[in-house]
Amino acid sequence: MKRLTYIVLFFAVTGFADESDYTAAREAMVEDVRYYAQLAHDPDAVGLSDAVMTAMGSVERHELVPASQRRYSYENRPLPIGYGQTISQPYIVALMTELIAPDADDIVLEVGTGSGYQAAVLAELVDHVYSIEIISALADRARVDLERLGYENISGKLGDGYYGWEEHAPFDAIVVTAAASHVPPPLIEQLKPGGRMVIPVGGRFLTQTLLLLEKSDTGEIVTRQFGAVRFVPLTGEH
């Protein structure tokens, strides 16, 4: 923790000089995320696998945020990316990725490309990521950024994510990063039996819980909600 604070403070004052600075900051961020995952020492809490942590350590988050936010890109917090959207807190991205239990041959649908960061993390772990965005400027920016970073296994499109992406369905997993008043029935249909869907619940800067929807082999649906942090709402029950 302290190490990250010093690194962030140092770069906040001096600015990032070169790529190696970003690499160091990214490593510190991964450590930070790991630290918080251990902090949630709840037997039911989501643990973070090495594969997910490796992916988090590989994606160049600073390349996916606006220039004005670049110096904060490896802080463990959400950042504004314009158009009323945010790039999620790295810790939340790691948890969401973990919750869908990604496999190397998985085909994953993402609804809400945003900065492209979540898609990039997923692309490090799965076969292909299909991502849909409803804000034209964000879709364009993410496409350019992800191409520049060399992600060939991400396909994006501009449009309505409510009906999923029929041509590439069914999906092993679906990650919904956009807010919704309900889980779109067409997305549930496009989820493979045994598939998982994850949705963050809460405001743009304040993720409250993560909703995991699981479709059994028989098509039965059950959801589970995870607090990102262990928090017992009663005093004296720790």
Binding site: D32, D42, V201, T223, V232, P233
Partner: protein, 812 residues
């Protein structure tokens, strides 16, 4: 001299109009939490101007007309400039927990909006200081102006967008400046600047800068980012700015709590945002009820599984979804109550064809009224009273409404609703669900207390609660839930994959089946609230979920100080959503009000010569400090109390603020005569006045609830007249202690007078925010009693000052 009076009237009208306008605008571009900050800012402007005049009195006195005209002109200019600047401060309340710069931005907003009020106050203060021979008439025009300003801005907001209302208001001080410039020695340079400003206005330059810049994170801003979405209509009104949005490429599909087992998809919808948030939707309806099948798969549909052709009352009808819900389920009749007539106009007229003339259905009767007022006045009994989701999840989830009074979800309200249900009838309320639960549990606690207040011994037998992954619906029956009803509830919930959080015969295995949590918190909490040790549970729960009452109507307040260190510690570990940041903004506002008051009002006064007899400074200071607290505590508590009666915060602020200003002014003007008369009789004037304040405040503590209950259903004009009549005698009394104190100070040491103003202003600035905090923590009655204690303490200090004062001649 005659020119001064209309100028005073115009300045005063513009100042109060601007204050109310800023409250509206900041509610639109940000959230409601700025409302009480604006009152504090306005008071700070007056406080700072007092210090400014005290320091430069001689220079300003010699150039009175010029200084007045220049200040009025600067008031006019800064009203516009600061409005534009304030909107450009990149304050993002939602980022407060992540970014400490946001505190800086919050302070910047505070300081930017201080400037226009400072110039307005300089005008008024100069007139009082330099034209003491006509002080009575100045008072008169100042107070009449305040009253007219409130009426003018409310009327203007019905006809104009807020930025255009601003342009109307800023012409008032400009005219005042022109009037005073005509008798000023510096009329030529003043008129050049006035002409320049006028030319800019006519060229439309400011208008380009005044467009409302909503927070990027409000629902409307987000909706407008979506491809092909567009605003169809804006409707401005004092109750809210309504914006209708269509999104043809990515349609709105608002269906909170829709079962994930459903195969039904919502039809095309138009979104209606109130003040850029709190979205309601207008469903496209062509008369085919089949297109509304999705409505039956939401938790809100639960009561309809138990009732055959019910007579329904929908409170908060909005865009009509809940009315359609009732019609879809074959309701015999639907009385739809909606506070904002402009909202119903959209559904009934503007988009009537789209909405399928839902409000023209013979079964539907529309009442453009406030919910509590309607219920209090109504003699009807309903099979079902339905309250749907009235706010957005983002707002509910972020704690943005912590300071919002809501008289819909109080113990008294729920008891009142229940008395308007038939035997066996039901009240159903749907809320967003948070984890761990906050409002859901608070609502259940409130319902239990309401049932107990009605003499129900076993509330557990009359309650049912179900939950989806993001909503919960509470059902309260007017009577015990029968076995067949319980079975129907189970069938409804299980077939739609909803979990049961409470039923009279609930079993723990059915509480966490479809939407699994690490614990079934809502069930655990309901069980605890219905048990013998509910008080201990409320105490131990880490969020504040004690029932909301009319005395503490802060339904959305969940903050507990004891929880703060823990949630701050887990902020970056995914715990940011646990922080109730709305309350933290209030604390930040109080801190900055205190600092600004100290540095801008009190500190500069050190430059004023400090000469007064030893031992008198502290009691004199304490006296004016106490008065500042006491006056504002009562005024703020009344503003919040009268929201229930007058239906909306803006109406309440307008009526209560103007009422207190006008009648306290009258009291102040009459204080000298009263004091002389009472002193001749050998009685202390302050004791008599404080006695009057005590009488009225204590009387109102008991009298206001039944009076509100009796008259809440009456027309707005009747309620406004009654409100003013209630405020008048109390305000007249409250207007007296300050001038009586000044009179005493003048006898002891005239050098203390600027300090008296400054200390009183400082206390007022703090109290505007502190009163809200105290009301949230302890309730309005406690705030009023605290204010009364301050008055009593002040009267004791006054008595000691009386003994201290020498028989010197009265002040000149």
């Amino acid at each position: 001299m005659r020119r001064l009076f209309p100028a005073i009237l115009l300045i005063s009208a513009a100042a109060i109009g601007y204050e109310l306008l800023l409250m509206r605008v900041l509610s639109i571009v940000q959230w409601h939490h700025f409302a009480y900050m604006i009152i504090s800012i306005a008071l700070l402007g007056y406080g700072v101007s007092g210090t400014f005049i005290a320091l430069l009195r001689h220079r300003l006195e010699a150039r009175f007309e010029t200084a007045f005209s220049a200040s009025a002109l600067l008031f006019s200019i800064t009203m516009v400039v600061c409005f534009a600047l304030g909107q450009r401060v990149p304050f993002n309340a939602l980022e407060l927990v992540w970014d400490s710069n946001q505190l800086l931005y919050l302070s910047l907003i505070y300081l930017v909006f201080l400037v226009p009020f400072f110039f307005a106050a300089v005008c008024i203060g100069l007139a009082f200081t330099c034209r003491q021979q006509v002080i009575g008439r100045i008072y008169f025009f100042d107070l009449v102006g305040a009253g007219l300003g409130a009426i003018l801005i409310i009327g203007a907001l019905f006809a104009l967008m807020p930025q255009n209302a601003l342009l109307l208001m800023m012409t008032l001080p400009l005219v005042a400046s022109l009037i005073m410039a005509s008798v000023s020695r510096a009329r030529i340079p003043l008129m050049i600047v006035q002409a320049g400003w006028l030319a800019l206005l006519l060229a439309g330059v400011p208008q380009q800068q005044l467009a409302l810049k909503l927070s990027d994170y409000k629902g409307l801003s987000q909706a407008l980012q979506v491809i092909d979405s567009r605003v169809l209509k804006n409707v401005s009104g004092p109750l809210g700015l309504l914006t209708v949005v269509d999104s043809p490429s990515v349609p709105f599909r608002h269906a909170p709590g829709l079962s994930f087992g459903t195969h039904h998809i919502p039809p095309r919808q138009l979104a209606v945002f109130t003040d850029g948030d709190s979205m309601t939707t207008i469903n496209r309806f062509d008369g085919d009820l089949g297109s509304l099948a999705y409505l039956g798969d939401m938790t809100a549909a639960l009561p309809y599984s138990l009732l055959e052709k019910p007579e329904v009352l929908v409170l908060g009808a909005g865009g009509g979804s809940d009315v359609l819900l009732a019609l879809y389920h074959g309701a015999k009749s639907v009385d739809a109550v909606e506070l904002n007539p402009q909202m119903t106009e959209l559904v009934q007229d503007t988009y009537a064809d789209f909405a399928g003339l839902v409000y023209d259905d013979p079964r539907v009767t529309l009442y453009p009224m406030e919910a509590r007022g309607f219920v209090a006045k109504s003699d009807s009994l309903y099979d079902l009273i339905h309250i749907g989701l009235l706010d957005s999840f983002a707002a509910a989830g972020a704690g943005v409404q912590a300071q919002s009074e809501s008289y819909i979800y109080t113990v008294e309200a729920i008891a009142e609703y229940l008395t308007h249900t038939t035997a066996g009838g039901m009240l159903a309320i749907t809320r967003w669900l948070k984890h761990p639960p906050r409002d859901g549990l608070k609502l259940i606690a409130t319902a239990i207390e309401a049932l107990e207040s009605l003499g129900i011994e076993q509330p557990a037998k009359q309650l049912a609660v179900i939950r989806s992954w993001n909503t919960s619906t509470l059902l309260i029956k007017n009577g015990v839930l029968e076995a067949d009803e319980v079975a129907s509830i189970r069938r409804f919930a299980h077939s739609r994959s909803f979990d049961i959080a409470w039923l009279p015969d609930i079993e723990s295995h059915e509480t966490n089946r479809f939407n699994k949590l690490d614990r079934p918190y809502l069930y655990d909490g309901t069980m605890a609230l219905l048990g013998d040790r509910s008080d201990a549970f409320l105490e131990r729960y880490k969020f504040y979920i004690e029932p909301a009452t009319d005395n503490r109507p802060y339904y959305f307040h969940f903050f507990k100080w004891t929880t703060l260190p823990e949630v701050i510690a887990v902020r970056t570990a995914g715990g940011a959503g646990l922080i109730e940041w709305g309350y933290l903004i209030l604390i930040a506002t109080l801190a900055q009000a205190t600092l600004a008051g100290f540095f801008l009002i009190l500190l500069p006064l050190w430059r004023v010569e400090r000469q007064w007899p030893a031992g008198t400074g502290a009691p004199m200071g304490a006296y004016f400090l106490l008065l500042g607290f006491a006056f504002l505590f009562i005024e703020m508590a009344f503003i919040q109390k009268f929201i229930l009666f007058l239906a909306h915060p803006l109406y309440s602020v307008a009526v209560v603020l103007s009422g207190f200003l006008v009648f306290a002014g009258i009291g102040s003007a009459y204080s000298q005569k009263l004091a002389e008369r009472l002193e001749r009789l050998g009685r202390s004037p302050l004791t008599v006045v404080v006695g009057g304040i005590a009488l009225f405040t204590l009387l109102y503590l008991f009298l206001l609830p039944p009076l509100f209950q009796r008259f809440i259903g009456y027309s707005d004009s009747t309620k406004i007249v009654l409100s003013i009549a209630l405020i008048a005698p109390l305000a007249v009394c409250m207007g007296m202690p300050f001038p009586l104190g000044l009179r005493r100070v003048a006898e002891i040491a005239t050098g203390f007078i600027p300090w008296a103003w400054g200390i009183n202003g400082f206390a007022s600035v703090i109290s505007a925010v502190l009163a809200t905090m105290l009301a949230i923590e302890f309730g309005f009655n406690a705030v009023i009693l605290l204010a009364l204690s301050c008055y009593v303490l002040a009267s004791l200090i006054y008595a000691t000052l009386a003994r201290t004062s020498s028989p010197s001649p009265p002040p000149r």
